[in-house]
């Protein structure tokens, strides 16, 4: 169980309203990711759900019951913090046991759950160590272990992977996704990394300045971004947004084309430009094209390798099927 409903929730710090009235429903068992640039209010929103911040107005319901004024401990949620927030003077075992000790759970039940969690998270050999003696990834797993043993109705993750190196991050991403499949628990995950959002989420909530810009599945957001902000935020490299005469040819204010939906040729095409930096990733090549007459830097992504040099002339042809159109307010046109 773990359905969370936000109803007209707002949050102000003094005179500054960081979350304008906001409605959101997170279904039971769903993996929801809050994503947005820094300062967009995603962490605040998570802390409101956790109860670590008091909401200014509105209601929060967990499993249908009003939880607006419940203290954090009574909401049945578990949180994994960015800094892990492990208790440095306690062993891993005691860290994991802490929430159960506070709930006065019988000793043997505690031990059973610790063993199970340690086994699932590969921590069995480290139970008697202190957090200071563990690597970043292990600490992260202890923090998750401490959350799991409570068997919460929902897990809250606050940028849990941002302190890990790139390789570990990919590994932990998989582990958390795996854990979600196994536990079928509701999870809310905050990140500024759209790759994490795309790979892990059932549902992505894109936030900007406290407003929800769009809610949807990763592919929905990719294929049908509701406005130019979502279009630019989701997908890597960023979508090319083109304004001006080229957009007016299509009768709209802005057109957008993703870098992977552009054909590249050395001899002919719709647009002409000069090759800037080419990033060779092996499987893909990102080419940054200048002087296209389309405004900003234009990025294209092609599979495999292509022999282009800095300064070469290049022709680009967009895939008309994949063209996104937006009006002057940045909203999507059909």
């Amino acid at each position: 169980m773990g359905q969370i409903q936000l109803n007209q929730v707002t949050k102000s710090f003094g005179d500054v309203q960081v979350i304008p009235p906001l409605d959101l429903t997170i279904e039971d068992g769903e993996f929801t990711v809050f994503v947005g640039p820094s300062g967009c209010g995603k962490s605040t929103l998570l802390r409101l759900i956790a109860g670590l911040e008091d909401i200014t107005s509105g209601h929060i319901a967990i499993d249908g019951a009003d939880a607006t004024n419940l203290p954090p401990a009574k909401r049945g949620l578990a949180m994994v913090f960015q800094s892990y927030a492990l208790y440095p003077h306690m062993s891993v075992r005691k860290n994991i046991a802490f929430p159960m000790r506070m709930a006065k759970m019988p000793e043997d039940e505690q031990n059973r759950r610790i063993e199970a969690a340690a086994k699932a998270l590969n921590l069995t050999d480290y139970l008697d160590r202190r957090p200071g003696q563990l690597s970043g990834g292990q600490r992260q797993r202890v923090a998750i272990g401490r959350a799991i043993v409570r068997e919460p109705s929902a897990f809250l993750f606050d940028e849990p992977l941002s302190n890990l190196d790139a390789a570990l991050r990919v590994g932990m991403r998989l582990e958390i996704s795996e854990m979600h499949e196994r536990l079928k628990a509701t999870m809310i995950y905050v990140t500024h990394d759209q790759v994490e959002a795309m790979t892990m989420a059932d549902k992505i909530v894109v936030l900007r300045a406290g407003f929800i810009e769009q809610v949807g599945s990763p592919l929905e957001l990719y294929h049908k971004p509701r406005n130019t902000f979502v279009a630019g935020f989701i997908g890597s490299p960023k979508m090319n947004l083109i304004e001006g005469p080229e957009a007016q040819k299509h009768g709209v204010h802005t057109i957008g084309i993703r870098p992977e939906h552009v054909q590249v040729s050395k001899t002919e095409g719709t647009w002409k430009g000069t090759v800037g930096v080419a990033e060779h990733l092996g499987s893909d090549t990102y080419i940054h094209v200048h002087e296209t007459g389309l405004g900003d830097l234009f990025t294209v992504r092609i599979s495999g390798d292509i022999p282009v040099r800095h300064g070469d002339t290049i022709f680009l042809t967009p895939d008309m099927e994949q063209l996104h159109k937006f009006d002057e307010n940045g909203l999507r046109l059909p």
Partner: protein, 288 residues
Amino acid sequence: MATQHSRSAARMMLAPAVVLLLGWMLVPLIMTLYFSFKKYLPLRGGDLGWAGFDNYVRFVTSSAFWPSVQATLIIVGGTLLITVVFGVLLGLLLNQPMWGQGVVRILVIAPFFVMPTVSALVWKNMFMDPVNGLFAHLWKFFGAEPVVWLSDASLFSIITIVSWQWLPFATLILLTAIQSLDGEQLEASEMDGAPVLKRFYYIVLPHLGRAITIVILIETIFLLSIFAEIFVTTGGAFGSRTLTYLIFQRVLESQNVGLGSAGGVYAIILANIVAIFLMRIVGKNLDA
């Protein structure tokens, strides 16, 4: 680059400082040891030759010795208890955001800058005086008989004065320690279902362990040798004679340098015993 050459140059340059410090420490120590084996009465014949262990035996067998050790330990222990407990509480209080925080923090630290003699005199005359003191007026206001603090509760009075002086030190160190506590740890424990008191006991207190250890160790060093507070208040009477004060009386009031020096050696031994116990009890907190 630490070549052979630069290393020996470094030694040469350090040598004066090392020699000076060593001399500073060793000369008084050796002189104390030297005099403790002498019969030396400055006003009654001066140096009267070697005394063997007579001074040591006389000092310990004196009826004043054990009570003075006891008084020393009570004052040190009592002051430590008060400063640590109230230091933690005051630190927690001052860590709360409030209006005029900067001024309040400076005021709290102020007692530490008052000289011991002055603060003891202020306490003696303004607070604890049985006729004109504030406490006397307070007692009378409630219709009670004023307490003659310095004679009826001499140890307690001295502990109060010394604690007042050292509380700012403890508060300052513990406040900085509290400020360094990771807020997410507290939030995590809050989510884990720990109420305020348990958060304090399981999270804040262990975090303060190292700072408390440092407060205890540093204060002990200074408290074992408090003198001015006793000198200007009770003058060592009413059971408030500490080991330090006893040595002072033996040397200056009885004019017996040899006996006092032997007492000084006992004071070194006592300080070391206390240090060993303290390191056993709290020293493990200092390991990372």
